[in-house]
Symmetry: C2
Subunit: 470 residues, 2 copies
Amino acid sequence: MDAAEFRRLGHALVDWIASYRETLEERPVMSTVKPGDIRARLPRSAPDQAVGLGDVVALVERDVLPGITHWSHPSFFAYFPSNSSYASVLGDLVCAGLGVQGMSWQTSPAATEIEEAVLDWVRQLVGLSAAWTGVIQDTASTATLGALICARERASGMAQTDRGLQSKAAPLVVYHSAHAHSSVEKAALLAGYGKAHLRPIEVDRAFAMRPEALAAAIVGDRAERLHPCAVVATSGTTNTTAFDPIAAIADICERHKLWLHVDAAMAGTAMVLPECRPLWEGVERADSLVFNPHKWMGPGFDLSAYYCRDPQHLIRVMGTNPAYLRTQQDGEVSNFRDWHIPLGRRFRALKLWFHLLDVGADGVRARIRRDLANAQWLAGEVAATAGWEVIAPVALQTVCIRHVVAGLDEPALTEHNLDISRQINHGGRAYLTPSVVDGRQILRVSIGSERTERRQVEALWTELQAVAAR
Amino acid sequence: MDAAEFRRLGHALVDWIASYRETLEERPVMSTVKPGDIRARLPRSAPDQAVGLGDVVALVERDVLPGITHWSHPSFFAYFPSNSSYASVLGDLVCAGLGVQGMSWQTSPAATEIEEAVLDWVRQLVGLSAAWTGVIQDTASTATLGALICARERASGMAQTDRGLQSKAAPLVVYHSAHAHSSVEKAALLAGYGKAHLRPIEVDRAFAMRPEALAAAIVGDRAERLHPCAVVATSGTTNTTAFDPIAAIADICERHKLWLHVDAAMAGTAMVLPECRPLWEGVERADSLVFNPHKWMGPGFDLSAYYCRDPQHLIRVMGTNPAYLRTQQDGEVSNFRDWHIPLGRRFRALKLWFHLLDVGADGVRARIRRDLANAQWLAGEVAATAGWEVIAPVALQTVCIRHVVAGLDEPALTEHNLDISRQINHGGRAYLTPSVVDGRQILRVSIGSERTERRQVEALWTELQAVAAR
């Protein structure tokens, strides 16, 4: 492809993306293809001769679009908001066009320094003090793995430089809410702790970790000659957006010298609103924190913000220094390759920078307030309607509901609510996530797509009632 | 930003990217800014009010470009090829525009199925058998970490479900070439093995792992009641593109039941040429393999191809199954979130697919052959020139050279060659990597940027001689 062809196809795709987004509401939210449908459209092998991309828009419409579940659809209420604003798309375009590797400062100083600047903007936006230093990672899963490895190395006196976890030292133990995201257990297992050394701590009626249960578990483990190592507190659980009480947990961590990691993957963005910050009171006393601007703030995936208080420890754990990576500026700059697991790095700060320039902090705050209001509206309607229940406090934008039919036992209610979710999702006009809370099958409505206004939430509520009534 | 503004700015940026690439040769390859220069251009905080991106091209030219080291420059000879073809840029544009999350099949079936199809194309292109299954990961560093965790779990009988590495079992040991990439040691440390349980194995005169030294180390560790667990063989080391003898290493791994992981990060792409495949003979007997199409094949970073022979083991190690991630299709489809560390996934297969359609397999092969020929030409010129040495076999596209001045001792030669690298890199007309091999300071010339023709290699060689002669 030469420059002229790139210009031609690039313009066509830019126009197509705009049209796609403008007409999103006409499409079914969830893809309706069957397993294997898309793969069957592609040849079994790469073409030997160049085929070219001459009709790239037709190619995308024909072979890709049918297999797309539209996360930017204004009636996308599943999982979590996963926005990708127009400004963010332009940032990704520049990132791909430059094609630089920001692994070391020297390999593109702008990639490092714009990331430093913009992550500091975001730090201020969510109300964190200047004691925190940020770095972009791909996902909260990866960042939490990194945090639990840092905790492991601090507790063990950098055992990785000696016998690692394979010493005779007292086993290290990790604590987390029983409602923590699955990635927390996954991270602890990948870090080598072992499931026998994980402690899911019971939650209260609002699904938040009970600090007295945490304290008791730690004391119990000490009595068993185990070595309590780290607590992962969740700010906004996946199922119900419950907030673990960070201040009380921090008290316990300080008393017992445990690493405190805060997983605020989705909810962190809400902290742009001062009125939300009491939800994570005590966060300043954590050792590490991750939240995903790529969920609710506006820039597209993947852009996870990892903040830590002791970057030198992070670098000791993650850093390498082979001859072929040394540069003249080492020692006076940040080489972000030493701040996480991967070596190579895209220039992801561009899309966050573009997004914040485009909408401003006020724009982010206004959109988050809109989503919170929509969630409160829906929760109010559900609570006021016979046969419907809101089954968890609505702290932010996630509303967990279910429909109850008198005379149905629990298995029948499960099937009934699963059936509602299937009808909604296959109906194409909205997409939500069935889940299970406290053994009860629920319908989880996550509000926060950039284009979701009150109108779409109202339509969802109308359709839920209609489906349930059938 | 509305759709009209997105169209306007998108067109402008597409045009700008084409102009940028067309005029690359006029720019200094390595950025010449000083630490802090770029950061000083950005305000200390995000704007409260929307600023907009109305003059986005001017913004990029002013605040970004001075801080860019141009990896697509035809005179980029540093590190490794990091290509990002026009077709790949378009794929990334569509990926960002769609903004989908391919974590589960249902969350965008096309993301999963096009990835399955295209990674199978790539498998065939590099001559691997159908016994291999591929998945895209971000980097070889991350993939190797995953491989060493899979190895750990197979050797320990899935200890992560019990006491992890914190049992009383015999410590697991990992073996790798003394010339393995720094990410191999990093991965083993992050996986918890501990440095005391890593064995850098000595290399032969061509810098390849000596299998008899590997066998002796394993036998020695067994005698010490340690548990040999995994070998990482490198196909194409970072410094000198040395190839560990995989067949001989596989014999040893089979005899001792060790996991064999092959790190072919840069060199894997060369296997599109049948004539290169003897270099990794025995690769079919490995358990896992990673190589980076994002280096030399054409699609932009990050697109690392991880192939394994037992995906079910991978899923056992990496999988989770919380209620909120279950879908109707589980069991009949691949949910790639269970194939690696992150949960979320971009639609990265698009850019690889677009690239392969655009150039065809013949196009990839022709470009790789061009680069190999350019490397052989340079090595021949260097070897034939008094005062210059080629210090390692040139298996592929990396040429390690140094300039020797009679009468200079080793420290002086080091300074002399470092000075050559500084003059080349600061001169702006080329960019290469100083490194150290066998204690000797070298100049490492990596050829493989998409736009690098013989002309730029000749110019580099002319300039190297001129600088050395000063």
